[in-house]
Symmetry: C2
């Protein structure tokens, strides 16, 4: 067995995960999702990155909205608004079923891993999808007005407050996903860090004690794909957050953050690779169509 | 102030409550809902009788289904089914908003009374609607296979198992709704027992310590409307349950169950009143249209 292990956040990472799922057999692909974005909202346990990966891999992602589920309806949300409930976090009627059933199962003692695999399997995902940990890790953002829960900063405040610091609450006590450690110890073919926001999608995974060490120890190539093209992220606040934290937003800045963990780095032709100390590969990292996702996945595997 | 206090279960009781709301000013009508049917399902706190009353009084009841909310959609339920969740208890997308927001508010420490009033107000109900108690009371049904939670017997098993006994768990420890006791102590104009199932809609209310006594003590007329026409209930398992418990299902059997609590009883012309020891009034108790609901409400008030 020679497995590829992909570390991913939401939208951007899920695009590459989908590409990989088209060029690898299901048993050769393990996708590990960030859970630092998870939140409890309306009493429900919500795992945005797991859900984005599940929907994308199942072909159920909403390509009109760019987030959430395909064929979504909003009757729940409309009624919640009429009742005076909190509506800043949009939950579609279909999406909601995942959150309600996950909350129920977690409450009944199932692990997030078991629930995640069950839902992915039910919706037709064939690759293995796992959370980085079954223990809660919660990303928080320090803003001029104080610490905010990640989704409060990201969705409710629409990323407006400046980012002064980032913390992964619970990470120091979280146990890494046992199946991930097992896969890392079983001579994986490669570790792929998807083009996700390093600050809030990948670093929470690496902050779970034991994961970074197991990646370094496993001896497999570790390849990251830049989430930055030129000076901008394809989607989301990656560039802006890097700038807030005093870094020059660039593909090279992301590579520097991963440092010695990497052996390979994939970035857009033309972007500045100055200071990157690992093997640099040039590829089209922008993935608009399925063909582009598959092409990038193929290119990546050819480098390894 | 001379208030009418109506005790009600779900569908049948809500019809009369709606009629009363058309002939009494909002400040003169207090509707007290049974909460013995309440359940925790999918981790949500569900109050079927409160919700039926809310929807009916707000003009939002689903007249096609005969239960639930108008203009309902089922995307949540379809997805829950795809995920392998429990689908025997049907929760529409709009209905769900009530349950999710109620569960959240109860979890945050609000009382069921506050939540009930808030939702009713938001949806346009003008009369006061209150649960019999803010403490949990759960009706359970003894069947040949053992005790079942009420909704398991009623919905999941579709009332099939024979009813050997009925218990109201928690009733002995439940505190009566303080606003109801206050209203009963403030010389109400009348207590009206709506045409609900006595066994599972009205008796749970009367089982909350202090409510029956406060009704008897208040000195106001106590009028019940028969939920039985001929030998059948208009809707639901009332007649069947009475028969299971060894009673001859009839309007008179219901009056006997209420016993000395009553001063007036309203029943369909032609039904046998033998053995009823309170003043009997004859009226059309079948309420198909709004006009029939209002007519019955008017008739009842004329008897008092």
């Amino acid at each position: 067995m020679s497995r590829v292990i992909a570390l991913s956040g939401g939208i951007g990472g899920a695009k590459l995960a989908l590409g990989l799922s088209h060029v690898l057999s299901p048993e050769d692909l393990l996708i590990v999702a960030n859970t630092g974005d998870d939140c409890e909202h309306l009493g429900l346990s919500i795992s945005p990155d797991i859900d984005t990966l599940t929907y994308t891999l199942a072909g159920l992602d909403n390509q009109v909205l760019g987030w959430g589920r395909r064929d979504e309806s909003w009757a729940f949300m409309e009624t919640l608004e009429a009742l005076g409930g909190e509506t800043w976090f949009r939950l579609g009627d279909r999406d909601l079923a995942l959150h309600v059933e996950r909350t129920r199962r977690l409450g009944a003692g199932e692990t997030l891993s078991v629930v995640t695999q069950r839902f992915a399997g039910r919706l037709g995902v064939q690759a293995t999808l796992l959370p980085m940990s079954d223990d809660p890790v919660r990303t928080r953002i320090l803003t001029p007005g104080g610490w905010l829960d990640f989704q409060h900063w990201f969705v409710r405040e629409q990323c407006r407050p400046a980012v002064l610091d980032i913390a992964f609450h619970g990470a120091d006590r979280a146990r890494p996903n046992a199946a991930l450690l097992e896969a890392l110890d079983a001579r994986p073919r490669a570790i792929i860090i998807c083009p996700s926001n390093p600050l809030i999608s990948i670093e929470p995974i690496l902050a779970v004690p034991g994961i970074r060490e197991a990646i370094s120890r496993c001896g497999a190539p570790v390849l990251a794909v830049s989430p930055i093209l030129g000076r901008e992220a394809v989607k989301g606040p990656t560039a802006r957050m890097l700038a807030d934290l005093g870094e020059n937003p660039s593909a090279a800045a992301v590579a520097r953050r991963y440092g010695k963990l990497l052996t390979h780095y994939v970035m857009e032709p033309g972007d500045d690779a100055t200071g990157i100390e690992v093997r640099v590969h040039r590829a089209q990292t922008l993935m608009r169509t399925l063909e582009e996702k598959v092409a990038l996945a193929r290119a990546i595997l050819s480098y390894l």
